[in-house]
Symmetry: C2
Subunit: 635 residues, 2 copies
Amino acid sequence: MRNDLKVAVAQMEVLPGQPTQNAANMCRLIDQARLQNAQIIVFPEMAIPGYLIGDWWEQPAFLRACEQAGETIREHTQNICAVFGNVAIDWNRRNEDGRPRKYNALFIAENGSLRPPEKSPLPFVIKSLMPNYRQFDDSRHFYDLRKMAAEADAPISDFYQPVKTRHATLGCILCEDAWCQDYTHSPLRELARHPEIQLFINASASPFTINKNHKRNRVFSSHAQQLKRPMVYVNHTGVQNNGKTIYTFDGASCLYDAEGGRIDIAKPFAENLHIQDIPLEPASSFAPKHPLREDSHLNIANAILYGLQKMTATTGIRKVVVGASGGIDSSVVAALFSLVLSPQNVLLANMPSRYNSNTTKNIARTLSHNLGTPCVTVPIEDSVALTSAQIDGLQPNIGSIEAPLALSDFMLENVQARDRSSRILAALASAWQGAFTCNANKTEMTVGYTTLYGDLGGWIAPIADLWKGEVYELARTLNQHFFPRPVLPEELFTLKPSAELSAHQDVDQGLGDPIHYPYHDRLFASWVEWWNRTTPEEILMWYENGELETRLQVPCTISSIFPTTAAFIEDLEYWWKLYQGIGVAKRIQAPPVLAVTRRAFGFDHREAQMPPFFSPEYLARKNKLLKQISSATQS
Amino acid sequence: MRNDLKVAVAQMEVLPGQPTQNAANMCRLIDQARLQNAQIIVFPEMAIPGYLIGDWWEQPAFLRACEQAGETIREHTQNICAVFGNVAIDWNRRNEDGRPRKYNALFIAENGSLRPPEKSPLPFVIKSLMPNYRQFDDSRHFYDLRKMAAEADAPISDFYQPVKTRHATLGCILCEDAWCQDYTHSPLRELARHPEIQLFINASASPFTINKNHKRNRVFSSHAQQLKRPMVYVNHTGVQNNGKTIYTFDGASCLYDAEGGRIDIAKPFAENLHIQDIPLEPASSFAPKHPLREDSHLNIANAILYGLQKMTATTGIRKVVVGASGGIDSSVVAALFSLVLSPQNVLLANMPSRYNSNTTKNIARTLSHNLGTPCVTVPIEDSVALTSAQIDGLQPNIGSIEAPLALSDFMLENVQARDRSSRILAALASAWQGAFTCNANKTEMTVGYTTLYGDLGGWIAPIADLWKGEVYELARTLNQHFFPRPVLPEELFTLKPSAELSAHQDVDQGLGDPIHYPYHDRLFASWVEWWNRTTPEEILMWYENGELETRLQVPCTISSIFPTTAAFIEDLEYWWKLYQGIGVAKRIQAPPVLAVTRRAFGFDHREAQMPPFFSPEYLARKNKLLKQISSATQS
């Protein structure tokens, strides 16, 4: 008979900031696992407190509640071993901020007792590598193993120890500990000094990010093969946020064997308690092999739908009002919410002015019909006229020579946008006892091509982490996979994108947004999403070298958009200034963004209001280029 | 003759994200110092790049510009030694996030060459202790000395070395390095192993926070006395922000001697190049002694005025529109901006509805007269009526049994608030080519007693880090110290605070806000500002023990506000739910807050949208208390 360990992997939903409920859920899962004769049950990182909970870590009462919930789990481990993430507090020592010391910890409890790592000064495992990039703030709150080793003036290897339980000897780490390629040491390599370890466990709290799972499968599978031991990866589901940015957690928990095999224990975003017999002989194989693959728009659609479902539940929002302009963005948002809340709880509001075409008004009507949502039409003409009448011609400095106030056409564009959101949608939403949505996409958000208190208002921005081109892809995906027949009308895919706020944006004349999406989407992505971000300096250099299309993967030639270098530079600087200038001011007051990429606006993409920066190198290159052109023209 | 060192301390304004301009300014200061025969000039931490610049650290082009600016300084050091903060980049190594390795560094250059610390692997000094609390994110971007020591597997003491320059041997540290009480080692104590060090330098980038300077004087003066060496503390002026929160830097640079003396080298918030002869004999005294004192409302007023002055300059805003309700908050904001931009550039807009009293309308008029600002009256009645006409009675689900939409009185309160800000103030501001202000205070911000896209709108929130009681103090200070005669009318100080959005808030009948400011200001401060934050658990315990007034320093008895325990608990839970519930949602979309306390909303006070949490301990205590009362009533 093989020496198998019966492991229960608990892909549970973690409710952030609700230790008592999470512990109750965990006790229920422990009971289930015990009934199925599991010898060990493995829960995710921070399963009790949640992970992204802002600064609640600074409330001693919250910490005590987490400790108490952890005790409940410990007491609940008769005849089973539970491995679970929780905050651990050393009330007698200080964090570097002077507050009680906290660890991002993994507890191992069996038969009512904690099983500490061998020779450990602490009765639990603590996280060693602290992510401080993207939305992660681990060093803000938690004392790590490296600091502990330095404090004890002992070699760090002393602190990596196996955990002996009745049925197996474990090597336990937390999340980032396995992503060690840019750190000076590897927790797994340290643990590998102990050949008695039979099973490795990585407990994580890792949000969905496009293609992250595939990278993890590559990295973790390779760890398991090198360690010649099986590895359990357990991650939770649910939604957590840090105010400005909302993260979905897809779970995607799995088991890696020592031969490159993998068992996915659940569908993404689905709770599951998976029981698996794992052979403890080194280098055994028990799982099938999978080809590597990339995420599709279906994964993105699922993440967004899951995020919206959980956020509506968390905030108690049961009805939403969508300002339906007849454009692609609002249509996609309406379709998403009709899936999440059911059509009768999604109210489409079309708010026409003289500039709205019959084309888009008809699309909005067709959309409402296709989705089966209610729809109202609330025109804004009277209110815009009233605002004009009240503001135009006002003379603030009586007796001064200053001209009276005048609302230009451009100012009236913003008046229209604010009227729609802050006057109509907000009132509609409160009267209907719901909330209204922000339909902005990432392209608009980048350069602030949106009106504050206007179309940038709303309780959530579901598609603000998708470039315009990706919104179209999402629309296709929704039509193909989520509805019995296409709900987003075909005209949406051919219509020129337009704000329809002035006669210069008449879609029926083929007019619209000043953004060349196929190029600007890629350009802005290089500013925002690339790990080492580009600036006009790199862009201009690549332009000069004729390699911009390749570098940015633009599906058209740059010269087809910009006939001259001067035009190219003017465009580049125009958008760069908006991205770093007014775009920042607008994002500060933007709604929470539902994140899907590895760089979402808000808490991930941190920024300051500063004058836009052009490097000396950029300015020199630009001057040289323009001079060459001007002398070429003269000669 | 004494062995004196002529030191120039450069309290310069640092422009965040503008390395080229900062370097040019520093070259000018070096020239000035050289003319005055200074042997060494000392600049602040991150003098070249700025400190709070969001994630611009991830742009290689920006980093190269900072390196280049640093080279400019190095080359500019003929016959002088310059000590300056800059980012240092090791392009061949990685930070833990995989990006090029960056250090928060201090460069010492003399006669065109860098002077590295003795036996150092790096040609500059790097920061050791990384603040990761409040708004600080050092570990997100910079590799610290402790990690470097661990990487080299060498004792950390090896890395603390003196820097030999022609005229003196220096012990150099950066900011947090001197605030080591909660860290496991002390950079100053490490440097003190080198008795040849003659002068210690702490280069900082430290924002103004109420009473911080006095604490620093206590701590740093004690360092200098223990080290028996003089210490230069250099900090910059200017304003930096991280989007949601704006920080003023007051400089407050000074020299500490070894005997407890101190020389303040400039007024707060003023640039200065101070030249000082410092005796290099150990334990010498050259500076006068000062009594310890606390910041007054005058310091706060100065910080806010400086912040507004710099932020208007940075953003190019030359005119502001203030919605002037005739209440204390908007009046204070109007007075502040009249000082910053001059009265003719501040437009007061009174926007009455049927609920606004003549009392407050008159105050607004008097205020405009006293300040000498223009003033317009733009009523909102017609627009509110239009909104009612358009929304009231709408039937979204045609043919359904659902009742038609109806705007309740409460909903109409929010309609009024949004109409004022998003319709009128925004249009007025754009037509006047200015911006409008957010007049919210910290008490309102805490519990979201404010309307999103309404009075919570605006480009900046100047008094949102002051509790209501402090707004009154600031008003008194402005009247007494900043104007030839009081400008804020005396009625403002006696009037009951009121939003005047319904008949239930009639100030002439003594009605108004549901907040008991003297108590709730202190209660909310304990939730928001205390280092270890209170929650209902502690509050209820202190209430039960009769110590709540003392703990919170409430200037009245709790029983005078709440006749019964049930009423006390109801109030406590009501506000706690708002603080952790809708208050969070509103703050996510709130304008940038000008920080003065050690816990300002935004990037300092990080938070998530989650259901409010009541600890099991709180719930048990509450149930016990209410049961006691109910059985006492029954018996």
